[in-house]
């Protein structure tokens, strides 16, 4: 749990800005939450970032909520839209939530890009999806939606389903308009066509390209093969996952989360349910906790195996991808035996997991625990030890710990810089405090260190799995409380309360009390957080998914400036992002 701070956040800010009307709000997840006037946001955040004690060095998330149809807002200042800044203090190991209220007729506030350059994409996204104007933003353009899109999808008055929008037609004229909108114009990004006698080549990489691992587009400014600048263009994998959260019940949204980081499987369920359970105040029984951790760590290995093979392939090594996918297949065999599904197991439930472990589960895990370490040693020789592999990755695309924190980098990419920040250790959730494991770190934060950290993480995950197998506690696999969804069938025959909740939960959907909560977990790629706002109904009022890949990809131009095209592929591969995780 985050440690208690001596003076409250509101008092700290009031001390510095005595003239400002700072409103304090108590929330269900106990993150200190204050409201500040919109025009003072940059000053307050700059103070919190560099002067306050503790300093909040990382802009963890920035998002907004359309509050216009909200019913239950006790304790909140009025306003039509709310912009929410989640700050993370690494030294104080705590979050701060700063909010500001905006009226519908004046949806604008100053940009915080001068304070945090990392706010760039977040503010663009908030403008794109909710129509909030950030004054002074260097490039306030659509980020996720097509440039030709009309409206702001996450507003409550925007249709949520295709059927509400009328039939889609793509005639010649419209196609040309869409094509034209996709044209990359270097001038828009302040790029020159030539400089000091050098003519630059502009190369469009993607959205269909074997090296981008999905539908990502990068416009490169090249001097020969040297990258002068790069502009990533995302949104091609956007499926409106956050909007869907407002239509699905708290329970039926779980399978959608599987598909956010589609290589992470239950890790997504884990992040979502951490937030839901905080919001609803549901405890998870010990056996369910251990089952969750065991599957989550197996999925961390599965996700890292995909990265391992494809990273080697990005560098031209053709074989490892087949070996790592074979191993992944063995891990999937276990997932299949437990969950019945493979990549999208949809296995966690509010208050536990869907079913108990099948007979013989421990033998399968033990087989894997015995099988996997020799394989990892083999890959150490084949991949990490290869001299060409080293030549391609050592010293390429490095960044310092300070830079990484500045840009909101989390997970293995952050630890490669030498900072041993792991949410499982620092802010244990779901029972991680009961397990012994180490946090591997790198030194230089280059592509090679990122690889080393991930490989060592697989060993540590295996350690955790081993402990889970040995210490699997008996007991229920799901909370006995009626709030567990769906409540245990046996219990419905015992008391009328559980029967009623079961009936309502199945026919209507579980009801979560009004409030808000941020649940953050250490996913395979970094800090994955769900920020949920409940209006006391059966669906979420606002589902915000903060993904690690989004922050990592924003850092790409910094990492690849001055390197060559092959380095770009090494950097992309080493960042280990998933486009579905970026675009949601």
């Amino acid at each position: 749990m985050p440690v208690a701070v001596a003076t409250s956040l509101a008092d700290t800010v009031r001390e510095k800005f005595p003239q400002l009307p700072i409103v304090e709000q108590s929330v269900r997840d106990n993150i200190p939450t204050i409201w500040a006037p919109a025009e003072n946001i940059p000053a307050v955040l700059a103070y919190l970032k560099s002067e306050a004690s503790p300093r909040y060095a990382m802009l963890y998330d920035l998002t907004a909520v359309d509050q216009r149809v909200r019913a239950q807002r006790a304790g909140e200042p009025p306003g039509d839209f709310t912009v929410i800044y989640h700050l993370l203090s690494l030294e104080g190991n705590c979050y701060a939530r700063v909010k500001t209220s905006l009226r519908e007729d004046h949806l604008s506030l100053p940009s915080i890009t001068p304070v945090w350059p990392a706010a760039n994409w977040y503010e663009r996204e908030a403008w794109d999806l909710l129509g909030i104007v950030f004054e002074g933003h260097p490039h306030l353009q659509r980020l996720i939606m097509p440039k030709t899109w009309v409206g702001h999808p996450l507003r409550k008055d925007h249709p949520a389903r295709a059927t509400e929008m009328g039939p889609y037609r793509l005639d010649q004229e419209k196609e040309e308009r869409e094509q034209e909108a996709l044209r990359f114009r270097p001038e828009d990004w302040g790029m020159r066509h030539s400089h000091e006698g050098v003519d630059f080549l502009f190369l469009n990489v993607g959205p269909q390209h074997p090296g981008t691992h999905g539908v990502l587009r990068i416009a490169l400014q090249l001097d020969g093969e040297v990258i002068v600048d790069a502009v990533p263009d995302i949104g091609y994998h956007h499926r409106g996952a956050e909007k869907m959260g407002e239509r699905q019940s708290w329970h039926t949204y779980i399978p959608y989360t599987d598909r956010i980081d589609y290589l992470g499987g239950v890790l997504n369920n884990f992040a979502y349910l951490t937030a839901v359970e905080k919001l609803a105040g549901i405890d998870v029984p010990p056996r369910a906790q251990v089952i969750r951790i065991m599957l989550a760590e197996l999925f961390r290995i599965i996700s890292h195996l995909v990265w391992y093979g494809t990273f080697a392939q990005d560098l031209g090594q053709l074989s490892p991808v087949f070996y790592t996918f074979n191993d992944r297949e063995r891990a999937f065999a276990i997932i299949e035996a437990v969950c019945g599904a493979r990549m999208h197991p949809n296995w966690f439930r509010i208050g536990g997991v869907a079913q108990d472990l099948p007979r013989g589960w421990d033998a399968m895990f033990r087989d894997f625990i015995a099988y996997f370490p020799p394989k990892l040693r083999e890959y150490d020789h084949e991949i990490l030890g290869n001299r060409i592999f080293k030549a391609r990755t050592v010293g390429v695309g490095g960044c310092t710990a300070a830079e990484a924190v500045e840009w909101g980098v989390t997970g293995p990419n952050l630890r490669a810089t030498g900072l041993d920040w792991d949410f499982r250790k620092r802010q244990p959730y779901g029972g991680y405090e009961n397990f012994a494991f180490d946090i591997p770190t790198g030194r230089t934060g280059d592509c090679y260190d990122r690889a080393l950290v991930r490989v060592e993480e697989m060993r540590q995950s295996l350690r955790i799995i081993e402990q889970c197998v040995k210490q699997m506690p008996p007991g229920p696999y799901k909370s006995l409380e009626p709030e567990a969804t769906p409540p245990l069938k046996e219990r419905t025959m015992h008391d009328i309360e559980t029967l009623i909740t079961h009936f309502l939960g199945v026919s209507w959907g579980p009801v979560v009390p009004p409030g808000e909560a941020l649940g953050v977990i250490e996913a395979s790629k970094g800090g994955n957080g769900y920020y949920l706002v409940s209006d006391g109904g059966t669906t979420s009022y606002r589902t915000r998914i903060r993904t690690p890949s989004f922050a990592h990809l924003q850092l790409l131009p910094q990492l690849c400036r001055g390197s060559m095209i092959p380095d770009l592929l090494a950097i992309l591969g080493s960042l280990d992002y998933v486009l579905a995780d970026v675009d949601r």
């Binding site: 390209h209 093969e225 070996y323 030549a391 092959p566």
Partner: protein, 318 residues
């Protein structure tokens, strides 16, 4: 010794080379699959042997497409023919067995080097004519790579020439009666092996196409049989390099018991297998690293090898 009429040699060698090249496609896919824990083509015909035939039918049936934006349509079409032509021309000087050679030129080795130098035009022109930035980058890489690796490729063979005292390939084979040149010229053999890999643009030297970086590099815009010619050209190319290694360093057709032709093919296939193994195991270096390697390491080594060999030959015969 009865020598067949050159016409028979010509037709025979052409058929065998094309046969090997297409068989290689199958062999490579099966071997890669074996090393990568999977099956490879095993459905069409026995052991999937007819897969190549099926691929050929498919590739012939494809639309013969020339990009409307091509810089020069004529050059776009001619480029793949150049590569096939130059590698096949090289085979005219290859003695596969005593007397079986199309043209036993007294400058056979130089002819081979000249032809492989011409081959790069195919890649560069294809990259340029495609009028595609990826193709262009691939073409540029190919030009730089081929130039750098050709320099020490030629030099690495001069040791062999010094020892044999002739550029005639059959003469070089004859000179290895007592000892294969791989023993006195081991460094030269290594250098030629690396240069040969680079010459055929195979992993780890496949930078001109570099799938994960340049999509397909110089042949991004090629399809159908024009792509097929690049494809087959590559396989004839590695057959050629393997044949050259066998002739220059491993005594050509020489060997006990078995007939000369069998020995020759056996040696060629060992090196073909080696090339495929390289592809299965190594990652791809970066362009500048590749260049630095060629000019800063391989070239001095080749020159040193030539110098030492020259001195030794001078001391022994002088």
């Amino acid at each position: 010794m009865i020598s067949p009429h050159p016409i028979f040699s010509l037709v025979g060698i052409l058929l065998v080379v094309l046969g090997i090249a297409s068989g290689l496609i199958w062999l490579e896919r099966r071997l890669l699959a074996l090393w990568q824990d999977r099956y490879g083509p095993n459905r069409v015909g026995p052991f999937g042997l007819l897969q190549v035939l099926a691929d050929m039918i498919k590739i012939f049936a494809k639309e013969d497409w020339v990009p409307p934006f091509a810089t020069s349509k004529v050059i776009f079409v001619l480029a793949p023919a150049v590569i096939i032509l130059t590698v096949l021309m090289s085979f005219t000087v290859i003695p596969v067995a005593p007397g079986i050679v199309i043209s036993d030129l007294n400058i056979g080795l130089l002819f081979f080097l000249a032809m492989s130098s011409l081959g790069v035009y195919s890649i560069v022109l294809a990259g340029w004519a495609s009028n595609n930035k990826y193709s262009l980058l691939g073409g540029l890489r190919a030009a730089a790579q081929m130039l750098s690796y050709e320099v020490f490729m030629g030099l690495s063979l001069m040791g062999v020439v010094l020892l044999a005292g002739t550029f005639r390939l059959s003469g070089i084979v004859a000179a290895q009666r007592r000892l294969w040149f791989v023993v006195p010229q081991f460094l030269g053999f290594l250098l030629f092996l690396i240069a040969g890999l680079a010459e055929t643009r195979r992993l780890p030297f496949d930078l001109p196409e570099a799938e994960s970086e340049l999509v397909a590099g110089f042949h991004s815009e090629y399809s159908g049989m024009k792509f097929g010619m690049f494809f087959v050209g590559e396989y004839i190319g590695i057959t050629l390099i393997s044949a050259m290694i066998a002739i220059l360093f491993f005594g050509g057709w020489r060997g006990p018991l078995l007939p000369p032709l069998v020995w020759f093919l056996l040696k060629v296939f060992v090196f073909l297998g080696f090339f495929i193994l390289m592809r299965a195991s190594l990652p791809r270096p970066r362009f500048d690293q590749l260049m630095a390697w060629a000019w800063k390491l391989m070239l001095p080594l080749a020159l040193g090898n030539l110098l030492v060999t020259g001195a030794v030959v001078l001391a022994m015969h002088g």
